[in-house]
């Protein structure tokens, strides 16, 4: 009996020849990412709860201030300061204002075959480079930071086979929202969502990160894609080499197999207040919006900004609508400036903000008020996620969000 890609990565990290779904393995963690959402508490636990405070390998740690930057209050500033000082003292790689953690991790750290813990649920994004990334809380993070190891329950895998090609006006985000709608918010809990098939050839790295990143919204422990030529080219361009290039064996056992024709996917929105509450975009045509957001670890890459800029060029943001454009990293921002995209957004009346999590996380810039409606390329539309508890978030693709910003109501790119 063969092994799945997830089983192979975990076996490698556990230094065992074979492992199977349901086994518990002790693994050496290749990389430990954390951000300002929780790190201040991890530091307090390090100082106050450990009998022997110690970091197994500081080189494996990467820390980001990306959620609430620039700081919105003295309390936030104090938490940032605590992180900054601890990182300096312990020589931990520290990025502040450099971009959303997952985007910068893809640009600078993630390698195929690695097992990575991130103190952030969207760590599953790293599957786009064939790495097993999974979200953990501060206690698991601290344990791995101190010992270099952790325990994992080996997950079963849902294999999603993609055929064909997405139609014009349809984005990878429409695909993953469709899948989440199909299997539900708990449809992949404890499982890995693995993407294979000839349809992968038409998906760019930006598409792949967007797909893997959102899998936690179906409860997935991780998402995985084989590091093929497209992924290995990206890796080489960013100056890295793989740990191991792995894929599932043909006779591996899968929990479920889902086959999808990319040509059948249509523009879709997730309606308030759940990511799996999806509907064809056309069912929401005419819903008035107060704000539109293009950005986040899900959809703030150069490719997203390009399609959005192309659509809005020569047009204006609708009167009374705030359109926030937030590049996912400083390198994305710099490229967008070079290509003239930022100029296009500013000319159209958008607000271009510094690379950060922005309103996707709802505690910093761009929060919405009571009764207001946001259309967003962010990761979640939970009640109150973007501000007031009585507000409404629709999730959609970069194209649909931009089209809606122009129209002032939910619409698709072919209608503006």
């Amino acid at each position: 009996m063969g092994m799945t890609m997830a089983e192979k990565i975990i076996a490698l990290a556990a230094k065992v020849p074979v492992t199977r779904a349901g086994d518990i393995e002790t693994v050496t963690v290749d990389r430990l990412m954390s951000n300002d959402g929780t790190t201040h508490l991890t530091i307090d636990m390090y100082h106050n709860q450990l009998k022997h405070p110690h970091i197994a390998d500081p080189d494996k740690l990467v820390w980001f201030v990306d959620h609430n930057i620039p700081a919105d209050s003295p309390k936030t500033a104090a938490s940032h300061k605590k992180m900054r000082e601890f990182a300096k003292e312990h020589q931990i790689a520290f990025y502040e204002g450099e971009g959303v953690c997952h985007q910068v991790m893809m640009e600078r750290y993630v390698r195929p075959g690695e097992l990575i813990f991130g103190a952030d649920s969207h760590t599953c994004a790293y599957g786009a480079l064939g790495a097993f990334g999974t979200g953990v809380g501060c206690t698991d993070y601290l344990y791995a930071m101190v010992t270099g190891t952790s325990w994992v329950l080996v997950p079963s895998t849902i294999q999603i086979r993609l055929n064909g090609k997405l139609k014009e006006g349809v984005c990878a985000r429409d695909l993953i929202l469709t899948i989440i709608g199909q299997i539900g918010a708990g449809g992949a809990t404890y499982k890995v969502m693995e993407f294979v098939g000839e349809g992968m050839k038409s998906l760019t790295m930006a598409d792949r990160i967007s797909i893997c990143n959102l899998c936690v919204e179906a409860g997935a422990k991780s998402a995985l894609m084989e590091a093929d030529e497209i992924a290995l080219t990206y890796l080489k361009e960013h100056g890295r080499t793989p740990k191991a290039v792995l894929k599932s064996d043909e006779d591996a056992v899968f929990e479920q197999v889902i086959t999808i024709d990319l040509g059948e996917i249509k523009p879709i929105v997730a309606k308030p207040h759940f990511v799996d509450n999806v509907a064809p975009a056309q069912e929401c045509f005419g819903v008035k919006i107060d704000e539109a957001f293009l950005g986040s670890c899900n959809n703030g890459r150069l490719e997203d900004l390009r399609v959005a800029a192309q659509l809005i060029k020569g047009k204006k943001v609708a009167e009374g609508v705030r359109f926030l454009v937030v590049p996912a990293s400083r390198s994305v921002y710099k490229e967008a400036i070079k290509e003239g995209l930022i100029d296009t957004f500013v000319q159209a009346g958008a607000m271009v903000m510094n690379p950060c999590c922005s309103v996707c996380w709802g505690a910093c810039q761009g929060v919405i008020g009571q009764g207001e409606t946001l259309i967003s390329t962010g990761t979640r539309n939970f009640k109150g996620r973007a501000g007031h508890k009585d507000s409404y978030i629709y999730l959609a693709s970069a194209l649909t969000v931009t089209a809606s910003a122009i129209a002032g109501e939910i619409t698709t790119s072919d209608r503006v």
């Binding site: 959402g37 201040h40 450990l50 022997h52 938490s79 809380g137 206690t139 010992t147 709802g362 979640r380």
Partner: protein
Amino acid sequence: MGKVFRFHKDVDTDQIIASQYLLYPTVEEMKEHTFESLDSEFAKKVQKGDVVVAHENFGCGSSREQAPAVLKALGVKAVIAGSFARIFYRNAINIGLLVIINKELYYEVQSGDTVDVDLEKGLIITEKGSYPLAKLPKKMQEIMDMGGLIAALNKEA
């Protein structure tokens, strides 16, 4: 004995503790905002020993450990749900918050009912009847028995 606070399905971590409070310096300062969007009086009403009961997929969404931590800090004895999101479940056990999977209880109790979780007898006891406690996986029971993952780590060291 404690009181039941009953919630629906897919209670996400933003409802348990919203993003705008996560960077507060301590869990003690965050805890008064627990379940703010669902029941703004929750933190005032809840007492030590009370129990949160919910439908499926409790704690979905973010990996924020602040979610189980505020419940523990408020004295919640246990969260009993039809199922849990993976990261919340693991975080709860790591900090020693009792999480119990039970598919029936949600349909049997209302907010305000009295409930007791008797660990010695292995029972959830309500006014209407009792339900056996499902066993935790061995690895997780070991962590709970040691008082959480950090206590376990301190014993290893």
